[in-house]
Amino acid sequence: MWPGILLLVSVFATAAEPTPAMPHPHPFLVEHCLGCHGAEKQKGDFRIDTQLSLAFTNRLTAERWKEVLNVLNGHEMPPPKEPQPSPAATAAFVEWLTQELTQAEIARRATEVTQRRLNRDEYNRTLRALLGIPFDAGHLLPADPPSGGFDNNGAGLTLSPLHLELYFSAARLALDRALVSGPPPERIRWRFDPEEGSKGMDRYRVARGDQKQILLNGGRNRFTNGFTILTIAGWDRNVDFRNFKVPVEGEYVIRMRAAGVVPDRAAFIESVRPLLEKERDAEIARNPKGRRWHEEHFTNLLEHLRNDAMYDFGPPRVKVTQHLGGQPRVLREMDVDAPLDAPREVEFTARFTTKSAGLTFEYAYSIPKVLENHAWQGKDGVLRPELWIDWIEIEGPIDEGWPPRSHRAVISAAAEAIPVERDRMAAVLRDFMPRAWRRPVTEAELDSKLALYDRLRPASADFQEALKGVLTSVLTSPHFLYLVEPGDPGTRLDTWALASRLSYFLWSAPPDEGLVAVARSGALASDVVLVEQVDRLLSDPRSEAFVRNFAGQWLGLRQVGANPPAPDLYPHYDRHLELSIVEESEAFFAEILRGDLDVRSFLRSDFVVINERLGRFYGIPGVRGDRFRRVALAPGQRRGGLATQGSVLTITSNGTRTSPVKRGVWVLRTLLGEDPGLPVANVGEIAPKVPGIDKATVRQRLQIHRELPACARCHDRIDPLGFALENFDASGAWRDREGHGYKGRIERNDPVIDASAKLPDGTEVRGIEGLQEALMAREEFFLRALSERLYTYALGRELGLSDAPRIRDAVASLQRDGRTLRHLIRHIVLSDAFRQP
């Protein structure tokens, strides 16, 4: 366990002791380990005196030491039959080793910003900005590994031949899409009425344009007044049209005219009741002695139908999947929120190649199979949200004039008019290169590209082919792929490099014209202009990238769904909810950012930012529609603040149950800025070697474990923070009792949740309110944690010891001048660290 890396003061402890120099092997190892892992014996082929050394900065050595920590923290060694060290001795040794490793790791870190490669998201956004096309090289490029918590870390962004190969293909592909030749392409606009399929030529074949064999399938659905009505998900209920090819590759609009019918609860219950009655009567007839039980069961089911929030139906949802060359891809999942008397046209775009294609429309409103009684499951007569589809269209390629914007983004009309090809090339380069390299280019650089053009042109079919070759070299150059920031340490970045740093920080994208203008004039060097630009960039929609990339990684949102709540235990958790909990945390972050709210709202807030689906899940009534909006909390609604959000609560659970340890670690790390230690093998699991724990509750099992002094060392700091969140189950729903019934159902006598906890410094907390109180009382730690994370992200590097004063400054400044994200961002951007190479 070590305290926040840059302030050697732990949130719950007094100042760290200075560590005296130690010999190797450490006396602790000599006493407890060397007998079996030394000169005489080498159990497990591990020898402490020769395979370890005090060279903690050596990576391989450090890795081996970390395994030593693992076996000690996991209570694997010494083996039970050997004499055991006292918990205090183990604690002291672990503390020493952890300190050494931490110091060494920090000492290894360069405190200069490494010239960093664009990560995948930045690369995509950069090409999009440059060429004005909806380009996504997502499937082409490998994901970048996060380092220090973020995937924009220069040290972690390595480059291999694989990357270069892919950058090459991606650049070529983007240019092929951006540039056009010849006359405008043939366009299509095909409309399909799903019910037409059932009365088409041979029931389902229809013709559009030159495509005579399009398969149109209305599904096994009802058709009324020209609408096709979807109420149940199922392979035979999908609406699709397939086996067609669009005439040219490009972006197409998919448009659907549809409406939704949402049943109210009373009508719904009445539609189910006869089925339940029928079943009850049949059961009683079969077994008259069980009458009382069956009647009670019937009453319980009705009760469930009356009370469970999931029958507060929302608008129907549709999932649209594209099949291209046999490969499915989900294009869109959305609510269809329009009444029957005013159907809506919803549309979105998708890229089609000329491969054989298809589009499938699925009913995607989730009605979980929570009841053992299947009397009404899948029955048509039961009311559900209904999706009414009138027609579906595909239209494209999208007409934005000819040549399209993307073509003009590379070759301006003026350049295109230049008769001499080489001069035309020069004109294109003069415009394109500075935008691609995010700085002015020299004549020598330009000449070099023209020389390349001279080499390529003779073998190229036409001018445009040679031009693509030259521009591919511009887009695979280190000047494009890296944020090149020449200059000596201690000097200021030039305004071009600074403009890029700023735009990649807040937009994950290159500078726009406004930023380029102040970079060119040099005005960006002034504090006033820099702050103006920060505000301008933040108010631009492109700052969505900051929300997604920073908040997504800071809070761990990218882990949502990696180990989701088990469906039989948490039937309310569905795909719509999973999408919603991620968006909730992003929207919450955006609300605090854009509204200049106090950052302590992350710890506790009197509002949430939710959609209808979350309103239903959290039990907050009155929220209609899929849009995320700020909703004030009424007393007793027990939400507000990050730690109450579904995203955080599910990523800190293990699928079948809550994990107070994971939750504690999350709170400690994210909200208090304290790292609970090197990856301990058993974190998130109850240590295996505690006898007699099998039949206890989660909390009780952990409690037994924690009572061992050796374990309490870490768990006293971690677990209480998690215990306070025990009222939220593994799916993030509120619970008063821990369910021990069938499939985790809560029964009458199940234990009431105990969400009380005692922090290591003696503070008693009770439940979420108590935890939030305790966190608010430690706001400095939160401000420190937030500053560290934001600095790390802004600089694209991990922080070193010499950054400690910066963090102190940032915290002081927040406390003095206003605790807003905008303020912190301005503070960081104005700092030397941000403005130096």
């Binding site: 499937h139 291999s160 295996p688």
Partner: protein, 450 residues
């Protein structure tokens, strides 16, 4: 489109082989309880081909991290009459087509989680004074030096994380003659495109023009990078060195493509491959391993390469099913419950291997199963031992296939873990029998007679 030679793409497998394949696919994903139906990917519907393109010796090296539950892995008895261990029971349909070897290890290996770095090299990573890390050529690359010239790709590197990883935590098993790691690929789609999607240029001369253009461009950016290099500080220079090395390697690859311009890529229908499976996604994991092995199979059956390394998961990472953390479990401290979960992961892995071996066995190659010409080495560079050690000794290892190359399977070759021949002896045997013309390899003292 020209189908690749001598290959009947149309005829499906016999019904029995199909059922065998389907059984394996359905029985094994362990994630069912954890994953909502709506989020779960369906098992693969891939079926192997009836015939291969031609009989060639080949080798596949499959690596799993964090060792295995060694208690359930090592058979009790040695020799030919041994009874399968509980874990190896998964492979019982192939009992006579593999040999399990116990007691082996690389004498220089350091243990911990550097096993993937040395599994195929046997190197002493700290051998060079003053350098934190040096590695040596891996067995697959030794083999590729001999047989690689016959195929479009000299070798294929697969892993669950693209690139090379870091020293001591390699994401690739392959190291070239200089000890430089060869980047691995984790995306099924990109592998498919590299292996089977034809160049879109129309004619031979157009393709050659494109290659020439690419080399000109590479020249150009190399020049830029060199010029930039001098203007940077040392940390930035190190970053740019990655770029320079990558440009040079790409140039080498383009030259190779030029040599292969007259031979079209094989035509393979990708529609039944689940190319969008992602290794880092718990739902996709079983299907991801399957599709990577399907691609391995396709690469071999089309003779696109004869050498494949596949690191199923990087060291200290990975999981088997049910969201279990493989690395955490490897610190089992002898705990029965954790060991049982480890065995579950081991069986899960062997199930994927079983399916792959069945593909090879059911494909005809000049009247014999393709497996007879294909050596498959499966193992880990770590042994979590009796107490959750991270030892490089007594590594789990099995060699399957290659009956036509001189392997005599159906046995448990037990060695004394304290006094054993180096693991490199096995690798040397594999390399030589798969066509590698070498006199020695790493610290091998001879071949192991499998």
């Amino acid at each position: 489109m020209i189908p690749f030679p001598h290959l009947n793409l149309g005829r499906p497998l016999s019904r029995r082989a199909l059922l065998r394949g389907a059984g394996a696919a359905l029985a094994l994903p362990l994630l069912d309880a954890m994953v909502p139906v709506s989020l779960r990917a369906a098992p693969s519907t891939f079926t192997p081909l009836a015939k291969s393109g031609g009989a060639h010796p080949r080798a596949v090296f499959c690596y799993v991290p964090n060792g295995v539950n060694i208690f359930d892995w090592v058979p009790a008895a040695a020799g030919r009459d041994y009874a399968l261990s509980p874990t190896l029971e998964v492979l019982k349909g192939h009992r006579d087509r593999f040999t399990v070897l116990s007691g082996l290890g690389h004498p220089h290996a350091k243990g911990g989680h550097s096993g993937a770095d040395t599994w195929l090299t046997g190197a002493d990573l700290g051998a060079v004074p003053g350098k934190e890390y040096t590695n040596t050529i891996s067995a697959d690359q030794v083999l590729a030096e001999s047989v690689g010239r016959h195929t479009r790709l000299p070798s294929l590197e697969l892993s669950d994380q693209s690139g090379t990883g870091t020293a001591g935590h390699s994401h690739t098993l392959a190291f070239d003659r200089n000890g430089t790691p060869l980047p691995a690929e984790d995306s099924p789609r990109r592998v498919f495109e590299r292996l089977f999607v034809p160049e879109d240029a129309a004619s031979r001369s157009a393709i050659l023009r494109r290659y020439a253009e690419k080399r000109s461009i590479l020249d150009e950016v190399l020049g830029e990078a060199k010029a930039l290099h001098g203007r940077l500080g040392s940390a930035d220079q190190a970053k740019l060195d990655e770029y320079l090395a990558s440009v040079r390697e790409t140039e080498r690859r383009v030259r190779r493509l030029e040599e292969w311009v007259d031979i079209p890529k094989p035509v393979v229908d990708g529609s039944r491959l689940q190319l969008d499976m992602q290794p880092g996604n718990a739902h996709d994991r079983p299907m991801w391993i399957d599709v990577m092995l399907e691609l391995t199979y396709l690469a071999l059956v089309t003779d696109t390469t004869r050498v494949v390394t596949f690191e199923w998961s990087r060291e200290a990472g990975g999981y088997g099913g049910g969201g279990e953390n493989h690395h955490e479990l490897s610190h089992h401290g002898g705990d029965k419950a954790m060991l049982a979960k480890l065995s579950g992961i081991d069986r899960f892995h062997l199930g994927r291997l079983e399916r792959f071996l069945t593909f090879l066995q059911s494909t005809d190659e000049a009247g014999r199963p393709m497996l007879d010409q294909t050596v498959v080495v499966f193992g880990s560079g770590m042994n979590s031992g009796e107490g959750g050690d991270h030892s490089p000794r007594n590594l789990p290892l099995l060699v399957a296939g290659g009956a036509g190359l001189g392997f005599r399977h159906g046995q448990h070759l037990a060695h004394d873990a304290k006094n054993h021949p180096p693991l490199a002896n096995v690798l040397l045997s594999v390399v030589r029998r798969a066509g590698g013309e070498v006199s020695g390899f790493s610290d091998a003292t001879g071949e192991i007679q499998v």
